[in-house]
């Protein structure tokens, strides 16, 4: 696999996703101007962008995205198929929504679909984090 890097050694994938995470954070912050809860995913997205850009705390970066994905998936499944949970259905979906927002919200979920495969061992992003950690 060819490793495409810029002059400073930062992979293009890192640069692209960092920019997308920052753009997502700005969008969420704009929503937060009207509805304050959106500041939470905005801050998380900024954190993710910083981690990715700096190549530090790869484990944290990965697990935030994993928790985000799981929470989003639980939310969708519970809203879709969760009537059997009775009165607790909305408690579960509510908790899942809060966790999802805490971990970056829906935009992090979308970006996570593209980011997580690259964080597997030997893949480009994992190498990037590993190299910086070393």
């Amino acid at each position: 696999m060819t490793d495409i890097t810029n002059a400073g050694g930062r992979p293009a994938q890192v640069r692209v996703f960092s920019i997308l995470l920052v753009a997502s954070a700005i969008f969420m912050a704009l929503l937060g101007w009207s509805a304050g809860a959106y500041y939470v995913p905005a801050m998380c997205l900024v954190l993710l962008a910083a981690l990715l850009w700096s190549g530090r705390a790869g484990g944290l970066f990965k697990w935030v995205l994993v928790v985000n994905q799981v929470a989003g998936l639980v939310l969708v499944l519970v809203l879709w198929l969760g009537d059997g949970l009775g009165a607790h259905k909305l408690d579960v979906s509510g908790a899942a929504l809060l966790v999802n927002l805490l971990c970056g919200g829906p935009l992090a979920s979308i970006l996570g679909v593209a980011l997580l495969p690259g964080l597997r061992s030997g893949k480009r992003l994992a190498t990037w984090f590993g190299a910086r950690a070393a």
Binding site: L31, W33, S34, A35, G36, A37, Y38, L75, L79, D83, K89, L90, D91, S93, G94, L97, L98
Partner: protein, 603 residues
Amino acid sequence: MNNIGRVILASCVLLSGAGSVAAASFTGKVTLPDGAPAYGAMLTVFSADHAQRETVYTAADGTYAIVTPYSGTLTLRARLANYADATTSLDASQDAVGTADLQLANFADDQAESDALSASAHNAKLQWQQAGDRRAFVSQCNYCHQIGNSTTRAPRSHELWMATITKMEGYFAMVTRAQKILFASVLEQGFDGKPVIAKHDYGATADLARAKIEEWNVGDSFSFIHDMDVAEDGKFYGTDEGHDKLWILDPATGKVETADLPPSGLPRGGTFSGMHLAIGIFTGSHGPHSMGQTSDGRIWITNSLSSTLMSFDPKTRQFKVYPVPGDALYPHTVRVDRNDVVWFTIVASNQLGRFDPKTEQMTVMRLPHNGFFRWVTDMLFPTLLRISSWFPDKVLLLDFTHARFLGYQVAAFPYGIDINPKDGSVWYAKLYANKIGRVDPQTLEVREYDTPMSGPRRPRFDKDGIFWIPSFDEGGLMRFDPATGTFESYKIPGVAPGEYETPYALNVYRPTGDVWLAPNNSDRIVKFTPATKTFQSYPSPTRVTVLRDFSFTKDGKVCSSQSNLPAYAIEGGVPSYLCIDPTGGERDRAALAAVSTPPAVPR
């Protein structure tokens, strides 16, 4: 004698044992300050305890005649738009006919004249650059009450208006941040405390002079009696959405009783406990809202806050609760079809409920989402409300909802509902999606139509299967023919140029085909006659008249509940039930004319 305005009591002759009129009755004339007859003036007689009142309208010659069931020290008041009231008090016994002439006065000053104007005159001062901004304002700020009455037009700074709108958001107003800032600016500039100069014309006619209005105070200053229905036993049942209570009036005796709903087990505010709930007004958790009666006499109540359907047996006074399954939020208007099946809209979760009392089977169906953002609302709103309920009264919902940046149109809001008498189909109106829809009662197949005017609220069918729909946001009336799929639209005439109406509900009196509307912005009831396509106003004797569903008595009276929120803003400070008898004034006139006619001398 109480002298407010210039009163001329030309004569007061109380005649005991006056023929067959077993009541304190009055005849007389109301005149303008210059002595000319006052046409279309309201002559109101208050009972001795002021808990009831009856009103007739003067004829072209200024005369009136009214038969009341009252006795004791009674207050008579003459009222006509653009003039100061004239009042007097009389000691009267039943079986007596008195004569009282009253002369209206000019207002003492501009402020007094301004204060007497309906909300429509005051909110006409609000200057909107864009029609869409005004529609959003009407939709969200006139939702539960008038804007421009004495409690809502007080001058406030921009900061205070922002705080007021924030409070209203806690009650469920859905505005964007930009709209909020704009509304606060328009309100700050429009409600400047200066007197409003306007001349109101309610349109005095012979038709008006034939009518009579009866009112009974029901509830207290903190009651929120949403709907009132006339039941088969002739009594009036009103749902106090704030206090989980039914207010039951026997109009024959004037006696008021209450029936308390059983506890729901939910916190105050029910499923909406996370919202901001008006202190003192919302003390319950069921939120009884709308009613329909099945042929076995049971009254079916939608409990908006507890998401339940409830039956009430007027004979045994027993309630029975039926939870609405799923994520149902805010069961709203309920109607009963010809098979005694109960249908109701579920407004905040965009659903429709069907309940068969015979099998006790409930079906909840999802209605079309009407776009991506409404789909998001339908999916996530119940969850957001649950999150809010973990933090009571904190209104956390507002920090999450996309209504904060997209506005109220992110919701569909299936609101009013009715049954087509022609084919039994079920029709609803979506307040925010500007649609009406038909549900096949057998297959539950849905078909929707865009309405030409926005804000379709609580519609009704006439006997020919024509669907009549009030347009809340645009002050109109829409006629929809399901056979052809075509609309006709009518604008409700204002009482002065530049003023608008906010028609909330209507009902069609099927024997005549007349459409009765609650315009709710100008203290009147309006009748639309489809045959002539004309509107007739009936000025309300009570200022701050905000009415909900209309219901008819067996003898053709048109009844509703005074339901401004809060009730203490209504003139007199308490809500009431109100009935218009379109020919009641004419009957009183005939009865008293018969009494005053000397008996024929036998030859």
